[in-house]
């Protein structure tokens, strides 16, 4: 019969009209400013640099300016300049730090390749999407100070991922300390076996050397 399809179509739209008043599946609009979107944990926008503690973001950046992310970034939007001097990192080891670390967010397509290739977990993806700048060039060129955010913030936006990263880092740190202690013990044991007489002399420098040459380890890593 000619009109059957048309009537079926009308029935569907009527069902939706009525449905939109009582069935949440048929009323999907979230009115944005009032209703904030609940972002999935994996959501990623522009990257940010992770710093160990919140109070001294510049001092405790994890980034060691290895420039792998600069090479691997497909649109080449990261610019790094190595520092001349060194700075102890979380494990107390002296590391270079980035004097200049700039990301041109106008070019960055938040593809998170930099996060993937970074061996030091120094750069992670942010979740802040409501970004505005008054100037297209300098306004969107974020420098080191603007990029650095504390690890606590990282825990806040990517909880599970952050805890995995911290667990892994803690494990590495323990392994590094374990290895360091073994090396130290081995070094201490080796001179004793070679010359028991010289034991007293080297013992003292060893004892004094150990504290002297290795500066006191930096503030204990923030409790994860």
């Amino acid at each position: 019969m000619l009109g059957k399809g048309l009537l079926q179509g009308l029935a569907v739209t009527a069902k939706n009209l009525v449905g939109s008043y009582h069935d949440p599946a048929r009323y999907v609009t979230q009115e944005y400013p009032e209703v904030q979107p609940k972002l999935p944990e994996a959501y990623r926008n522009f990257p940010f640099l992770v710093s160990e503690t919140a109070d001294d973001p510049m001092g405790t950046l994890r980034c060691v300016a290895c420039q792998i992310c600069e090479k691997e970034c497909p649109p080449q939007c990261i610019y790094i300049e190595k520092s001349k001097d060194k700075k102890p990192d979380a494990n107390g080891k002296l590391q270079i730090y980035p004097a200049v670390f700039a990301i041109d967010t106008a070019v960055c397509m938040s593809c998170q390749i930099c996060v993937e290739v970074c061996p030091f977990d120094a750069i992670k993806m942010d979740q802040e999407f409501a970004i505005a700048a008054t100037d297209r060039f300098d306004g969107l060129l974020l420098n080191r100070e603007q990029l650095a955010k504390p690890n606590a913030y990282y825990h806040q936006i990517h909880p599970t991922e952050a805890s995995e990263v911290d667990a892994r880092l803690a494990a590495e740190r323990r392994a590094a300390e374990e290895k360091a202690r073994l090396a130290a013990a081995a070094k201490a044991a080796a001179p004793k076996a070679a010359a028991p007489t010289a034991a007293a002399a080297p013992g003292v420098p060893a004892a004094s050397a150990s504290p002297g040459s290795i500066p006191p380890p930096g503030p204990p890593p923030s409790s994860s």
Binding site: L10, A14, N16, S20
Partner: protein, 406 residues
Amino acid sequence: MILAAAPASPADAWLERAPVLLRDALTGWLPDALRPWVAALLSIATILGVFGLLFAYMTLAERKILGRIQNRPGPNRTGPFGLLQPFADAIKALTKEDIVPRAADQVLHFLAPVVLVALSLIGLAVIPFGRNLVAVEMEASVLYFFAAGAATELAIFMAGWASRNKYSLLAAMRALAQLISYEVPLLLSVVPVIVVAGSLSTTDIVAAQGGWAAGLWPHWHALTPWGFSAFAVFMVAALAESNRSPFDLPEAESELIAGHLTEYSGFKYALFFMAEYLGMAALSAMAVTLFLGGWQAPLAVLEFIPSYAWFGVKLLLLLLGFIWIRATFPRLRIDQLTRLSWKFLVPLALVNLINGGVWAATADWTGAAAVVRWFISALGVVVPFIFLARSLSAGYGPRTYRYASP
């Protein structure tokens, strides 16, 4: 209290006569000579006011209902539930710059929207809104309504021609082709109603639809077989006349030609917009008068509700139907559109003419004969519908699909 006393007949219930009493109160203190003139002015003012507001809130209702059908809220930012949206649109239209192309024919360019709106409004003069609420009482009011309707084509031609732009002229020609080819079924579907009601005046037609069979089944024309077919043809033609959904070809964005309104902006564009809605409201009002028993109540017991309320409810239901159809159907191509009119609607309306004639001739059959009469009339509708439907949808139809053998 007048209300408490059961009114002798619904006609003189207080609420029923309220508008007439109001008018008499307002014109009472005038000298007799001036009284008819002021009364006429009053009715003009009320029609303009009511239908102006109806236009405003119809645009809002359209966007809200369309939104709700599409699972979204529709405008709800301007005022509570978006109620101030029409006024916001009006201010926007007023403040928009009114660009007139230099080559345009200034006089016609200005005249077209004015004439279009005037013609859509003129038609409302003869529609009986309530028991004795008709602005102009005439013997040939139905013919008057369609004469006013026929002139709108002229205004569209003026709009298309005055913009001096090749595309808007072509679009105006297409719009005219559509309007003219749907004028014929519109008029033909009204003729059986006149044959059965025996008069060209709208008040007589509404009076002819009074009364209920066994208090439950009103004598509306739309509820008789031939009446339903005429009502369907009338509504489809009304859809096309007011350029609404399946036939909104002129301003179809996917069309190459941007329609005869390209050279209009600002308030004149809003006027065209208003004319379209008023045309739609006028045609729906006429459909209510001719087929849905004007201000007649659907059930005898519901008689106490004033007559103009019934007219309003029916009109709003029809307008809801317009919006509902717009939300559901895609657009027809220009050749399909004219083929639908000439090869389907006009023959159907012609057969319906005979059907109405038979119905009028057998008016005095009662009892068992009435059933036979209904059956004949129903046959007169269904048989041609099936034949015409088959010829119209030749070559189209749902298909079955096979799957590739791996």
